[in-house]
């Protein structure tokens, strides 16, 4: 993987210290990343899930999206998931719920994969 992607993964591991962070090479130089044990709040069951995503080989120029979570995640109140969620669909051979939060103002000098993940987690919690 590229040095920029390696750096992004190191930042994710640092921010999620104590939780399992798996990173697998993507053939072009990017990485498939899964961060496990992320709390998404009491509005969901299960309230803890994993987040998966691709960091492209053209990161940091490329946005990091969409993110994927456990397909079992449902709202506790029985309501449907918000409009940014879709699925279940397939990601790397496993069923997932897709969380689409595109950054239209992504700035490669400021935005990072870890900051994007934290924003997406926060967005999920707020729904």
């Amino acid at each position: 993987m590229t040095s920029e992607v390696e750096k992004a993964i190191a930042e994710i591991r640092h921010a999620f210290a104590g939780r399992m962070v798996e990173a697998e090479d993507e053939p072009q130089g990017g990485a498939y990343v899964i961060v496990d044990g992320v709390s998404i709040g009491a509005a969901y069951a299960p309230s803890v899930t994993w987040f998966g995503f691709l960091i492209s080989f053209q990161y940091p120029h490329a946005d990091v999206y969409p993110h994927f979570i456990d397909p079992q995640v449902k709202r506790v109140d029985g309501g449907s998931l918000a409009s940014g969620f879709s699925g279940p669909t397939d990601w790397r051979g496993r069923p997932v719920i897709q969380v689409s939060r595109r950054s239209n103002r992504w700035d490669p000098t400021v935005d990072t994969a870890v900051a994007k993940l934290l924003k997406v987690i926060e967005w999920v919690k707020e729904q």
């Binding site: 072009q28 120029h61 490329a62 946005d63 969409p66 669909t89 000098t109």
Partner: protein, 480 residues
């Protein structure tokens, strides 16, 4: 014998340096250029990234042996900066004279005393010196392997100028094929075009036009990159592409197996473009590269061109193009046509774009103009099946409109820009701004220049790739 070094500098930095060296007092002044480097088949290219002006009497002081010299403190400060930034150190001063210049014996002795140590300090250099006259420059370059010759300085701006140690011999170049156009820019202009190496990314509707026109113009060397083959739907706009090239009698059969054979044996677009170019100019050197500019080995073939065209729709290619332009100080232009189709298939806007990109802040950087959307880069990095799963593809049968007469509008301006820049025919006040033509309204407008100091491509910040050459990676796929 190693190939002589060349130096490329953008016009903004050159003007800053030139004003300092020649303020009108006819005295000697000094500076240092910090430069990246690109190794190429045509020899090493030094790429000016920063200029440090030596203040008279403080940084540029009376010398012990010569008239003046850079102070030890100034040299130490800039040399350590170059070592830290992995840049080459080039000391600069000026002499009197106009069209030719050379170092004095005292200059050479000073290089021999100082540069072997400076090569070590800057982690192998190169290091060296340049001496300027008003319209000439000579150089003395040092590496771990010793001393190297210096050939020329190229200044990249709306006019591309070249300075040599002394005036090159007037070319004995006269060819009746070019008689009419040489009446515009002279035999010297024709000679300049014949020495140019031009890259084209994408040999489809726009790129094939450029390729033919440049060949007829007398460009000496074209590097054309495309991995695509001719398809029957290309015949309306890829120059000289025929049904035979597209293997139409197979590709249009109902039998999918025959269609597949037809697609497999269809001619590459770069091969069609080479055929056209060779017919126009049998002496042209034409590198028809069956490759993808996202592969680093292919992208590197374009790091030594004198001008680079981007005529591909892919945003990933746009990122690589913008990186090559800034990292290797190569002027370029992106061309394209866009047809916006609204609901119910109604045509909304028809626009054509010609976007010159010069390698300095405000030079038309595609990043600064927000023309490299981060989301599109991410989407294009996915496989077809991933794109389908993530629902980025609604209907594979929907293909964007593309029309040869629209391509002509954007490609024509870009080809003309190249010709005018290298033959020095643009008026001094010309700004090479992006131009957008609105075809339905029959209007054309210039886009105001934008730049961001922190831009990773054109900016001056420590993370920017501008003028770093081989010392940073291009945003290509990692070699497997």
């Amino acid at each position: 014998m190693s190939r002589p070094f060349r130096l490329t500098i953008d016009q903004v930095l050159f003007e800053k340096l030139y004003r300092h060296l020649f303020p009108g007092d006819r005295d000697e002044h000094g500076a240092v250029i910090a430069a990246g480097i690109g190794e190429t088949d045509r020899g090493p290219r030094l790429l000016a990234r920063e200029v440090f002006l030596a203040r008279d009497g403080i940084d540029y002081v009376p010398g012990k042996l010569g008239y003046r010299a850079l102070s030890a403190e100034f040299v130490a400060h800039v040399a350590s900066y170059c070592a830290e930034q992995n840049l080459s150190y080039l000391a600069v001063h000026c002499h009197g004279g106009t069209d030719s210049v050379e170092f004095s014996d005292v200059d050479f002795q000073s290089h021999e005393r100082g540069y072997p140590a400076l090569v070590d300090i800057t982690k192998g250099g190169p290091v060296g010196a340049l001496v300027f006259a008003e319209r000439a420059v000579a150089g003395d370059i040092w590496t771990m392997r010793g001393r190297h010759a210096f050939e020329r300085l190229t200044v990249v701006g709306p006019s591309v100028q070249t300075l040599f140690p002394s005036p090159p011999l007037e070319p004995q170049f006269s060819n009746s094929i070019y008689d009419r156009q040489a009446r515009l820019f002279g035999d010297v202009g024709q000679h300049i075009l014949s020495r140019l190496k031009v890259g084209i990314i994408g040999l489809g509707g726009g790129g094939s036009l450029l390729s033919e026109w440049l060949s007829r113009l007398g460009i000496g060397h074209i590097v054309a990159v495309d991995f695509d083959q001719v398809d029957v739907t290309n015949l309306s706009r890829v120059i000289d592409a025929s049904r035979w090239d597209a293997k139409a009698w197979l590709a249009q059969r109902r039998n999918p197996w025959l269609q597949k054979i037809g697609r497999r044996f269809a001619r590459l677009k770069v091969d069609v473009a080479r055929r056209v170019a060779k017919r126009a100019n049998p002496r042209i050197q034409y590198d028809a590269i069956d490759g993808d500019v996202l592969e680093e080995s292919t992208a590197r073939l374009l790091t030594d061109v004198d001008f680079l065209f981007l005529a591909s729709d892919s945003i990933q290619s746009r990122l690589v193009f913008n990186s090559i332009v800034h990292q290797y100080l190569i002027p370029g232009a992106q061309i394209g046509a866009k047809v916006s189709v609204g609901e119910n298939g109604r045509i909304e806007q028809v626009s054509v774009a010609t976007r010159p990109v010069l390698p300095f802040p405000g030079g038309g950087c595609l990043q600064c103009h927000e023309l490299i959307p981060a989301a599109r880069l991410q989407m294009e990095s996915l496989s077809d099946s991933e794109r389908r799963a993530q629902r980025y593809v609604d209907d594979e049968e929907i293909v964007d409109p593309s029309v040869i007469t629209l391509n002509v509008l954007s490609a024509g301006q870009a080809a003309n820009d190249l010709m005018m820049m290298f033959t020095g025919l643009y008026q001094p006040m010309v700004q090479l701004s992006h131009q957008i033509g609105f075809v339905r309204e029959r209007t054309r407008s210039d886009v105001e220049s934008r730049s961001r100091e922190v831009c990773l491509d054109c900016g001056n910040g420590p993370s920017s790739r501008r003028a770093r050459g081989d010392r940073v990676r291009l945003p290509c796929r990692m070699p497997s």
